[in-house]
């Protein structure tokens, strides 16, 4: 691939674009557009922004991702978790509903886009790896709960706020008296309807004999039906005059050209949250993109994805949007509807542009409670507390990381939750590797294999202590090995040779090198020789560059069996007769 084509994937798939692919992409685009109109309005509500921001954030970003992204079917735009993070970040620097709030959203999108772009250019995509699966799962689950609870006030028709679960619940409890009955009826029935659609509509349609794909797409149109029905109800009965909050006037316009606010204070306050949004968005998007790509044996380039998402966010910043990423629901619909190339995304953008110009008067009477219902039903599918049970059964360390992430995200906010989860999973990993599994091994009789003396019936020689180290040696675990060898040797007086079997040692850092030197020196002081066996090529290469091998009291054996043959013979004959022989020579 030439340089330009590496950075602009459209130059690859664009040349081979066929009429058939065009037809497929167009059909997918129509379906996705219909689904995206209510979803975009809803996520803008969640982010605390005016409704049109959600639509604008779905237009230019999709186009830019189509040019720079590597996934054929990923649909980029506002998503639930990023909208929540946006509300949390901007809520700290501006009040919702002010001009400063919308300007800060542009700044956040710009910073997030810049960070993603830089990570892509400098190939720093691996930074996302610091988010372990349990931390992500815990964070997504807790975010889902936070989002659902944050929407209850729209269902109840009361004011409220807060960025943590206790704050939100206190705010709900305090304002409960102001609840609007009509809003509540709309909100509860929309929620119930959407849950029913999600759970029962598709099986019902299948029973009626519809093809699975049609049944699936129709059941995904549930939110559109709820939007239409409740909008008509408000319009027909003028419910907005009886206290039902509605979307109201949305400007009829293409995305405007906007300029983010670059005030140093604002940038300083938003750079941290922007980095978090970038990484979380990237992880979410990659997981969707790779799942879909694998189904068609296509490849996703993580560094190029960073560039694609970066461009999309910069696009959002200059066209009245807010931070975006590849969304799960919209991408799956796009894929299922038959999208073949990123052109489907471009057609979706056109569809949304037409909607922004022509259809916004239609949503004037749409109740916020309906939008809140679509959000609640969508995000509750993100909530999966079974991760607690799964990690508990698999590994306590992973369980602790999940539980802490969930509790802190709910109790102290999204940023602290993720930061604590990352820090904790790193510390727990280091702790686990700080006490490596070290097995004392002996020869399986009649073979050349060595196995744990506590699990197998093996031959040993009291003059030879053989330890198989099941971990790379590095600063966190070397002292453990040092203590273990010293304890073992001081308790067995016949020991004259210690053999470290390095078959599972993939690396030896400088601390470990010095520790091996110290172990050798201390064993020498006790009249014991240190040997190594089965050292891997890359480890041996490094050791050869030092004086360690020259000074080593013993030898490096290619195989453990060589070591055994040589050192047993040194004492006397191998096996149980070795003791007397060794003592005789010592």
């Amino acid at each position: 691939m030439t340089g330009l084509r590496r950075y602009v994937p459209i130059l690859n798939w664009g040349r081979a674009y066929t009429r058939q692919a065009f037809a497929n992409d167009m059909i997918a685009a129509v379906i996705v557009t219909i689904m995206l109109i209510p979803q975009s309005l809803a996520y803008a509500l969640l982010a605390g922004l005016p409704p049109e921001a959600g639509i604008y954030a779905s237009i230019m970003p999709i186009l830019l991702y189509a040019i720079f992204g590597t996934s054929r079917t990923l649909a980029v735009g506002p998503v639930a978790v990023v909208s929540l993070l946006t509300a949390s970040a901007i809520g700290q620097v501006a009040d919702q509903g002010t001009a400063g709030y919308a300007a800060a959203a542009l700044t956040l999108a710009f910073l997030s886009g810049g960070i993603l772009l830089l990570m892509g250019v400098f190939r720093l995509g691996f930074l996302a790896n610091f988010l372990s699966h349990p931390v992500i799962a815990g964070f997504i689950t807790a975010s889902g709960i936070l989002i659902a609870v944050s929407q209850l006030r729209h269902i109840l028709g009361i004011p409220g706020g807060g960025h943590t679960l206790p704050e939100m619940l206190a705010s709900l409890a305090g304002n409960l008296g102001q609840a609007n009955a009509l809003t509540l009826i709309i909100g509860v029935s929309a929620t119930a309807f959407l849950f029913w659609v999600r759970k029962n509509l598709k099986p019902a349609l299948l029973r009626l004999g519809l093809p699975p794909l049609t049944a699936d797409l129709l059941s995904r149109a549930g939110p559109v039906a709820a939007v239409a029905a409740t909008t008509l109800a408000v319009w027909g009965m003028s419910l907005d005059e009886r206290g039902v909050a509605i979307v109201g006037t949305v400007p009829q316009s293409l995305p405007p050209l906007t300029m983010p606010d670059f005030a140093p204070d604002l940038v300083a306050a938003l750079i941290g949250p922007a980095a978090l949004i970038s990484i979380i968005g990237f992880v979410e998007s990659m997981s969707v993109a790779q799942t879909l790509a694998a189904k068609r044996r296509q490849r996703i380039d993580p560094d190029q994805e960073l560039i694609g998402l970066g461009a999309a966010n910069l696009g959002a910043a200059f066209t009245g949007g807010y931070p975006v990423t590849g969304g799960f629901a919209r991408s799956v619909v796009n894929y299922d509807a038959g999208a073949e190339t990123p052109a489907a995304g471009a057609f979706t953008a056109m569809g949304l542009a037409i909607a922004a110009v022509a259809l916004t008067p239609l949503v004037h009477d749409l109740p916020n409670a309906t939008l809140a219902a679509t959000i609640i039903v969508a995000v509750l599918s993100l909530v999966d507390l079974s991760i607690l049970q799964k990690t508990w059964r698999y590994s306590r360390a992973d369980f602790v990381a999940v539980a802490a992430t969930i509790l802190l995200t709910l109790g102290a906010g999204v940023e602290i939750g993720v930061a604590a989860g990352v820090a904790l999973s790193v510390l727990l990993h280091l702790f686990k590797t700080s006490r490596p599994h070290v097995a004392e091994v002996g020869l399986v009789p009649g073979t050349q294999h060595f196995r744990n003396i506590h699990r197998h019936d093996v031959e040993t020689d009291p003059a030879i202590l053989t330890l198989r180290v099941d971990e790379s040696l590095y600063f966190v675990n070397v002292r453990f090995l040092q203590d273990l060898i010293q304890a073992r040797v001081t308790s067995g007086c016949a020991i004259r040779h210690v053999v470290l079997m390095f078959s599972a040692v993939n690396a030896v850092d400088y601390s470990a090198l010095e520790s091996l030197e110290a172990i050798d020196q201390r064993l020498r002081d006790m009249g014991v020789s240190l040997h190594l066996s089965e050292v891997k090529g890359p480890v041996m290469d490094r050791l050869r560059g030092t004086h360690f091998l020259d000074r080593l009291s013993g030898r490096v054996f290619l195989s453990q069996y060589d070591a055994w043959r040589h050192l047993s013979a040194d004492g006397a004959t191998a096996g149980d007769h070795g003791v007397a022989g060794a003592a005789g020579l010592a």
Copy 2:
């Protein structure tokens, strides 16, 4: 060992105490006492405390360590690096020379003792492992430079201060005009004399026919000679009246009973530095204790050492001292002089108590410049910049950790230096393991061994991709493996089986489990089966507790050779003929 005897090691060695051991311990104690008098005064000067604090800090701590510590020969008391850390920590909360300063030193010793004790009781000694050897080496070297530079003002006889190298140099440059010529003469000649003693006296004495041990001990008495000579000079010529700063009146008393200041603000300000002092002190002490113990095939229990050092620091807090730990120089002298049991330490404490009561008038005229000279000569042996060159040759990551620790300790202070070193070495370690070595392997003809296809001439089968993963799988590196497999499989269309050879995979965390599930699912979507081979017992035990093995598209083979035989046979015959056969069946 019963519970009490585990926590009070004196109950073990005390029962078997012999007359011979008593004689040996007594001789060692006399030699160590003589060496410790000037050293204690000097380190108190370095810590910014009155001279007697250094002596008091050597009495009760030694006694308590003799009861609770596990090393037979470790000598506990003030040491250079801990004195520097003390000065840095207390300098932030009180002015040198005030009563608050000395009280804060007691609080620091109390907090440090408490932290060590808690770490011992809860067996948290492994926390010290987070200090890698390069970070410790860099920190000790930078501390040596800082200490030496901090003493130049006593050699010059000028006021000054600062806790970083630039601050100290600026302070020296600003006050250079006030230098006292007589002080300078004393300081420079004492320094030159001590360097000469250190370098040339022992060889000279050996040439005169003295036994090596005697020569060694005499050459270590150099500081005592310098102290005596310069004190006599000041006394004889009344140099103190001509501007030479002297130790002055030191109270003639046993260590007083003192109470640390527990003001909440002070405790809050000192708890961080106290934790740092505890860990650095523990690491330094353990390294000395283990080196000496190994020479006599004795054992050090790290958790009990924490209790011993904790008791020693609590002792210092209540008897007018400041934070202490096991010192290298004093312990080596104790060992070389023939100390057999911790009783030698107790006798040293008695010797120092006698000195504190009877001998303090003798040091009234001792010039501070001489003490500064002993410190400079002692700490310059800590400075070892060769660590930069050694780590550069061995591993760039370790080099970066050393260089950053040295630069930040010198430029930004001891606390930031250590913290940055620890954080950096953890991040570099994670980064190294984030891109594990993965080798594509094939069968060495005529054997059952598999080797890297790029290094060896091996048999392969285009339908089988075998990857040997040389690292434990955990959240930081799983996405790398996922991307690598996806890239490799999408570029080789004949591949029908992927075998992951797990011989060097020591652990699989929950993130890696989920990634393996995702890899399996994605390969299945491409019509490829995933197999594992040579999975270790502990990893297999964990996988058996999940649904992973039930759902796996392929199989788990005991050995890679089994996998090869089975999967090649599945296609057709093994080796180069496999292609056609596999294609025929696919």
